[in-house]
C-alpha cells in the first residue's frame, strides 16, 4: 500500500493501523470505548457538529493559524525557504486546543460532564481545562510530579481555569505515569466521565479521533503553501512525542507522494546513553496504554522511563499510526538531542523573534541537521507550541 491509498482508505476505522493499535484495556472500559466510537461516528456525519466545531476553531481558538515564511532562519540555513505553521498562535499556545474542543463537543453529545486528562508539558492539560471551562464541565488533570516542577507555570494556569491538578508520584513521575493514573480514574468513574486523551495514542477510537481533530493543521497548511509557492512543499517537519501535531500536518500532504514527511523524536542525552524518548527510532513493538505500538522497553517487556528535556516528548510510546507509517515508509523518523533542541530554541528566538516550545524545537533542529538537502527548496515546520512555558527550563541550562 502506498501513502495515497492509505490516505484515501478510511484509515484506522477498524481500530488497526496495519498490525498496530487495538484496544488492550480492562474489560470495564470496553463499553465506554464503544460509546465513544458510536458518538464519534454520529458526530462525523452530523453537519451541525462540524459547523459548531468550525465556529469554535475560528472564533475561539483563533484559526486559521498563519503559515509564516521565516526568511532570516531560511538564510541562516544556507538558503532554504522555510515556512512555519504557527500553531503556537492558537489560543492556549499550542495545537492541543484543536483536539480538546472537538472532544469536549463529543463529551457533551454523550452527556458526560466530568472531564479528565493527562498532561506532560501541561499544554494538553491547559487546553483540556480551557475546553472544560468553556463547556462548564468539571475537570481533573493528572500530571507527573516531575513535570509539575519543570512546568510550574502551566500548573498555575490550569488551576486558574478551574481544573483540579492531581500530582502523580508513581514511577518516573512524568507523562507515562500520569496516563496510567488517568486511565485508572476513568476505569473507576467511567459512567459519568469522558477521558480527553491528548495525543494520537491509547485504545481505539482515540488515535484516529485525535488525528482527525488535528487534520485541520495540514488542511490549512496545504492551502496556504499552494498560495505562497504555487505547489506543495518539498518536506514537512514535525516533532513526535505521541505524535498528534505530526499526524495532523502530515495528513495534509499524504497524497502528495513527493513531499518528504519527517517526524522528529527526542534523542535526549543521546541514543547511545539509553536516556532518550525515541520510541520509533530505537524502540520495539509492545503494548502500553491500550495500543500495540513502538515502545521503549527491556527484554522482559517492562516499559523504560523515557527522557527528554521536553516534557511533551518525554513518553516511552508513540501513536500506533506512526508505528505503521514507520514500517511502511510513509514518513521518515529521526531523533534529535536535548542539546540540539536547545540550540534550535535559541536560533529561532534570535533570528525570528519567536520562542518555540522545546517540542517543536526538535523539528527545527532536525531541519538544521539536513539543511543542505533542502537548499533552494521549500519546507514547512510545524511550530506546534510556543516556548513561554519552557523559559525557566532553558534558563537553567
Amino acid at each position: 500500500m502506498n501513502r495515497a491509498t492509505w490516505a484515501r482508505s478510511e484509515s484506522g476505522l477498524d481500530g488497526w493501523f496495519g498490525p498496530y493499535g487495538g484496544r488492550y484495556v480492562p474489560e470495564t472500559l470496553i463499553a465506554a470505548l464503544d460509546e465513544l466510537r458510536e458518538a464519534y461516528e454520529d458526530a462525523r456525519r452530523d453537519p451541525e457538529f462540524r459547523s459548531e466545531l468550525e465556529r469554535l476553531l475560528r472564533g475561539y481558538a483563533g484559526r486559521p493559524t498563519p503559515l509564516y515564511p521565516a526568511r532570516r532562519l531560511g538564510e541562516d540555513l544556507g538558503g532554504v525557504r522555510v515556512y512555519l505553521k504557527r500553531e503556537d498562535l492558537c489560543h492556549t499556545g499550542a495545537h492541543k486546543i484543536n483536539n480538546t474542543l472537538g472532544q469536549a463537543l463529543l463529551a457533551r453529545r454523550m452527556r458526560k460532564r466530568r472531564i479528565i486528562a493527562e498532561t506532560g508539558a501541561g499544554q494538553h492539560g491547559g487546553a483540556a481545562a480551557t475546553a472544560a471551562a468553556l463547556f462548564g464541565f468539571q475537570c481533573v488533570v493528572y500530571m507527573g510530579e516531575r513535570d509539575m516542577e519543570r512546568q510550574a507555570l502551566n500548573v498555575v494556569r490550569m488551576r486558574l481555569l478551574g481544573a483540579e491538578v492531581r500530582p502523580v508520584s508513581a514511577g518516573s513521575r512524568t507523562l507515562k505515569d500520569a496516563t496510567n493514573e488517568a486511565i485508572r480514574d476513568w476505569v473507576t468513574h467511567v459512567r459519568e466521565t469522558h477521558y480527553i486523551i491528548g495525543s494520537v495514542v491509547g485504545p481505539d477510537p482515540y488515535p484516529r479521533l485525535v488525528r482527525d481533530f488535528q487534520r485541520v493543521i495540514g488542511e490549512e497548511a496545504r492551502e496556504q503553501i499552494l498560495e505562497a509557492e504555487g505547489r506543495p512543499p518539498d518536506a514537512v517537519f514535525a516533532c513526535v512525542g505521541g505524535g498528534s501535531n505530526a499526524l495532523g500536518i502530515f495528513y495534509g500532504f499524504l497524497e502528495d507522494e513527493d513531499v518528504a514527511l519527517v517526524g522528529v523524536e527526542a534523542a535526549g542525552e543521546g541514543l547511545s546513553t539509553g536516556r532518550h524518548a525515541a520510541s520509533l527510532v530505537a524502540g520495539r513493538p509492545g503494548v502500553l496504554h491500550g495500543a500495540l505500538t513502538y515502545l521503549l522497553q527491556d527484554g522482559s517487556g517492562q516499559v523504560h522511563p523515557a527522557h527528554s528535556i521536553s516534557a511533551g516528548l518525554d513518553y516511552p510510546g508513540v501513536g500506533p499510526e506512526h508505528a505503521w507509517w514507520k514500517d511502511s515508509g510513509f514518513a521518515r523518523y529521526e531523533a534529535v538531542t536535548d542539546e540540539d533542541a536547545l540550540h534550535a530554541f535559541a536560533d529561532l528566538s534570535r533570528l525570528e523573534g519567536i520562542l518555540p516550545a522545546l517540542e517543536p524545537a526538535h523539528a527545527l533542529a532536525q531541519l538544521r541537521v539536513e539543511a543542505s538537502r533542502w537548499v533552494g527548496r521549500s519546507v514547512i515546520v510545524c511550530l506546534s507550541g510556543r516556548g513561554d512555558k519552557d523559559v525557566a527550563e532553558v534558563a537553567s541550562r
Binding site: 480492562p26 474489560e27 463499553a31 485508572r184 522482559s300 516499559v303
Partner: protein, 263 residues
C-alpha cells in the same frame, strides 16, 4: 478437564466456595515466594492467583502497584515466576493462575509462554488488558489445552457481550464486582447477586468475583452469590506490612468468612 474445573467441581460436590487469594510474585522479597505460596495453600486457598509484575499496571490500585514496583526493583521476570510455579506445583495440588498484562507475555512470546507455563504446572492465565475479542490472533496464540485463559466480565459489560464472554469462558469466569482498579472498598456493589446470576445462565463454568473484597464479612456475602471469592490487595498489604504471619491471618479470616456463607 483442566485443573481449575476439577477444583471447582470438587468444591461444588462439597457445597463449598473457592477462596482465591492473589499475591504479586516476588513481593515483598523473591526469597519468600515459596513460603508465601505454601502458606496460602495451608490457609485454605483453593486456587492461587500469582501476579507477574508489570511496570505499568493500569488496572491496579496503589497497593498492588507498590507490590509490583517492589518486585520489579528486585529483578523479578516472567521466567523467574514460572520457576516458582514449577517448584510449588511439584509439592502441591492447588492450581495457580498467572495474572499479568499483555506486554510481558508478548515479549516472552505468547506460544512459548503458555507452553512453558503448562510445563511448569500453571492452570490458567489472566491478562487484565486483553478483553475478549480485542486481538483474536493473540488470543489464539495463547491457547493451550492445559492453561485456561481466564476472562473477565465488568459491571459495565453490556448483557449481549457478557453472554458472549460467558459462553467462551474456560476454567472460571471472573466477575469484577465494581468499576475501578483493584483495592479494598468499604462497600460491595449493589446488584451483585443479580449480575452473577445473569452470568450463570450463560455458562457452565464457575463464576468468581473479585475487586474490592477485603474483609471476611464481604467474603461471606460474595460467597453467598458466587462460586469463588478473589482477595488480592488485603493480602498483599498484610504481606508487605506484617510479613507472612500477617498475610496468613488475613487469609484464614477470609477463608472463615467464605465458609460461613449460607446457600
Amino acid at each position: 478437564m483442566g485443573a481449575l474445573e476439577r477444583t471447582f467441581g470438587r468444591l461444588r460436590a462439597q457445597s463449598r466456595r473457592a477462596f482465591i487469594p492473589y499475591v504479586t510474585a516476588g513481593h515483598p522479597r523473591p526469597a519468600l515466594v515459596s513460603q508465601v505460596l505454601a502458606a496460602l495453600a495451608d490457609c485454605g486457598a483453593d486456587v492461587i492467583e500469582l501476579g507477574i509484575p508489570f511496570s505499568d499496571p493500569l488496572a491496579d490500585g496503589p497497593i498492588i502497584q507498590r507490590a509490583s514496583w517492589t518486585a520489579l526493583q528486585q529483578g523479578v521476570s516472567p521466567a523467574q515466576v514460572l520457576m516458582w510455579v514449577e517448584d510449588f506445583a511439584r509439592g502441591r495440588e492447588t492450581p495457580v493462575v498467572l495474572f499479568s498484562y499483555v506486554n510481558p507475555i508478548l515479549q516472552y512470546g505468547p506460544e512459548s509462554f503458555v507452553r512453558d507455563a503448562a510445563s511448569a504446572g500453571a492452570a490458567g492465565l489472566l491478562l487484565t488488558d486483553l478483553p475478549v475479542g480485542a486481538d483474536p490472533n493473540l488470543e489464539s496464540r495463547l491457547f493451550h489445552r492445559d492453561v485456561d485463559l481466564v476472562r473477565l466480565v465488568a459491571p459495565t459489560t453490556p448483557p449481549e457481550r457478557a453472554e458472549e464472554i460467558a459462553r467462551a469462558a474456560r476454567g472460571f469466569l471472573y466477575y469484577i464486582s465494581r468499576t475501578g482498579v483493584t483495592g479494598p472498598r468499604p462497600e460491595l456493589a449493589a446488584g451483585l447477586r443479580r449480575e452473577v446470576e445473569a452470568l450463570r445462565a450463560h455458562t457452565r463454568v464457575p463464576v468468581a468475583v473479585g475487586f474490592g473484597i477485603s474483609t471476611s464479612d464481604q467474603a461471606r456475602l460474595v460467597a453467598e452469590v458466587a462460586d469463588g471469592v478473589v482477595v488480592g490487595s488485603a493480602i498483599v498489604a498484610a504481606l508487605g506490612d506484617g510479613g507472612l504471619e500477617a498475610a496468613a491471618r488475613v487469609a484464614r479470616e477470609i477463608r472463615q468468612g467464605i465458609d460461613a456463607a449460607r446457600d
